[in-house]
Symmetry: C2
Subunit: 346 residues, 2 copies
């Protein structure tokens, strides 16, 4: 369907949208014939044909064989060429900067770590990226994950790191490195990655809950979109009032016990989380609440679910899932970079 408010809907944009659709479908399907693509993407056969022929000529896609005949002429089977473009994910963390180079299939080509650039500023980050791009000239887009609030994928402000505060990193990258870039908050990237890994459809809301040593936080997905809030404060669940005079964060702190935030959580922490999950269910009614599996899994999740059912009817409680946070975070950034890559002109 179309979205008119705001953006222009010219034929050129239509072409680009269709190109993107074909690319994404071909990626998701692994390989496909023109007829399959036409059907699954809802685009007419001739258009798919022209787009795909062009992609093959450019080296972006390639013929991988002939299908068995189903009674008539045998169809050619196409697949994306993973060597054609690469993406870059950069994780800006407090004590280090991690990066990963990957192809459009998601295979990581190289991983690396450097000293944190958060204190240094944007120039240091740009220098690092320039260096990586020298080694992998086929990199065509960058996704940057940050532990702070992000506005529209562009500007962001991190409380303690003045050099990046309210800095439009995407525009800076576009100008200095002539490469498209997205910036996204770490929790939001993780929830995007999780959603992508488990189906990828819009579906019901998803909440990614991170308990964390530096205070809990959450990434929210509603109708397929990240929730940012009016002051970029959404997901700051540490402030949710829990008991008569305790916030979620304080309750977690006080009930944390000796092993503070590691899997077998003490009953007090389970209770606090159950109440938060119940609140989420009664407000957003997510289909899933995802936990970092190092912080909560198996038995703990079952305990949380049991407690939560005391507040909210069990059929309306979300499925509680344990997942690999680091992997989801990477996947989210990959998805974001891939979206950029796929939206580019030939």
């Amino acid at each position: 369907m179309f979205e008119t408010e705001g953006g222009a809907a010219n034929p050129q944009a239509m072409r680009l949208a269709m190109l993107k659709a074909v690319r994404l479908k071909l990626l998701r399907l692994g390989s496909a014939t023109k007829a399959e693509l036409s059907r699954s993407a809802g685009i007419s056969f001739p258009t798919v044909g022209k787009l795909l022929d062009r992609m093959v000529k450019d080296g972006e896609a390639k013929v991988v064989g002939l299908d068995e005949s189903s009674g008539g002429r045998r169809a050619l089977r196409y697949a994306m060429n993973p060597e054609h473009v690469l993406g870059l994910a950069v994780f800006l963390e407090r004590d280090e900067t991690v990066f990963a180079v990957f192809d459009c299939l998601g295979d990581v080509k190289e991983r690396g770590r450097r000293a944190s650039v958060l204190d240094e500023g944007p120039d240091a980050l740009a220098e690092l990226v320039r260096e990586i791009v020298r080694a992998y000239p086929k990199i065509g887009a960058t996704a940057i994950g940050v532990p702070g609030a992000v506005n529209g994928g562009r500007a962001f402000h991190i409380p303690d790191y003045g050099k990046f505060r309210d800095f439009d990193l995407a525009a800076y990258f576009e100008e200095r490195l002539s490469m498209p870039a997205v910036v996204e908050n770490d929790m939001n990237a993780a929830v995007i990655g999780y959603r992508d890994r488990s189906g990828g459809t819009a579906g019901p809301p998803v909440v990614y809950l991170y308990l964390g040593k530096n205070g809990p936080g959450a990434g929210l997905l509603v109708n397929g979109d990240v929730v940012r809030g009016s002051t970029f404060f959404s997901g700051e669940v540490s402030f949710v009032p829990l008991d008569r005079d305790r916030s979620f964060e304080r309750a977690l702190d006080e009930e944390g016990g000796p092993g503070r935030g590691r899997d077998p959580l003490p009953p007090g922490a389970v209770e606090a989380i159950a109440r938060l999950v119940a609140s989420l269910a009664a407000i957003l009614n997510p289909g899933e609440v995802v936990f970092n599996r190092e912080e909560a899994s198996g038995e703990t999740l079952a305990a949380i679910a049991a407690k939560g059912a005391e507040y909210v009817p069990a059929e309306h409680l979300p499925r509680l899932v344990a997942s690999d946070w680091t992997q989801d975070y990477l996947l989210g950034l990959q998805r974001l970079a891939l979206d950029l890559l796929m939206a580019k002109e030939h």
Copy 2:
């Protein structure tokens, strides 16, 4: 911009989207020249011209005068013809059924009330609508508001009214009355109406909070879309855990005092609402939380805000607004019917 997943993006759909955009812009602007429409809708001048000429020929729009010259040829000014199509809003309530006929400017042509059809079933509703349409043959779309969960604007189930449970009312209307119809939950319709009245842009999340005699509920708007949740349970804030062992609803009940749910709320209720608002702020971070002004306004809202600031930093608290629930509800249904009307072919 475009949205490819799912829907086909053919030129015809493009035409329809543009037609809709021109209609909505013309409605919002009241009157406009072709150049103004072209600029504000992001559509090229010739296209706006063709569309508008056609609309004038069909009687849908009309010339309302010539602009003063701004140095050159004077521009023709156009406006929608409010007599061309009408919309119908039907409110299915527990003890009565209310309807309103209105034109595309939102002016209500007629209001009426009948005995509730919730016990009778869909056929009684269809008969009522048929009767109204006989009196106003220009009605081209219907929006139906119900006090129950709605799925994708089509099917819905109300706990106590079996005849409507899981019934696809939209399809039924399309088939029997050959008229497009939407069905929407009352709280969701109200929040859509409020959003529409106060700007109408997508903007930050909005929550419409209704305390209600039959238990509180909320309508949520995120990124411009209604939040429905995985089991259509979103907004059921009565279940939010508040104190050590009380839900929001029980707290409200016990603290309600003698005047139960009327404007000067007792301190206990204010406290409960403040905690709920704080939870909303920490999870969704809405820009506004709207109250029925008969339940809370002025002083009460100030008290809630003051209390809320004890839990969440004041700058991240939503603006608390008192509004007219009935009017917002009507406006929401009008907007939904209008969306249908505007999306139709000539």
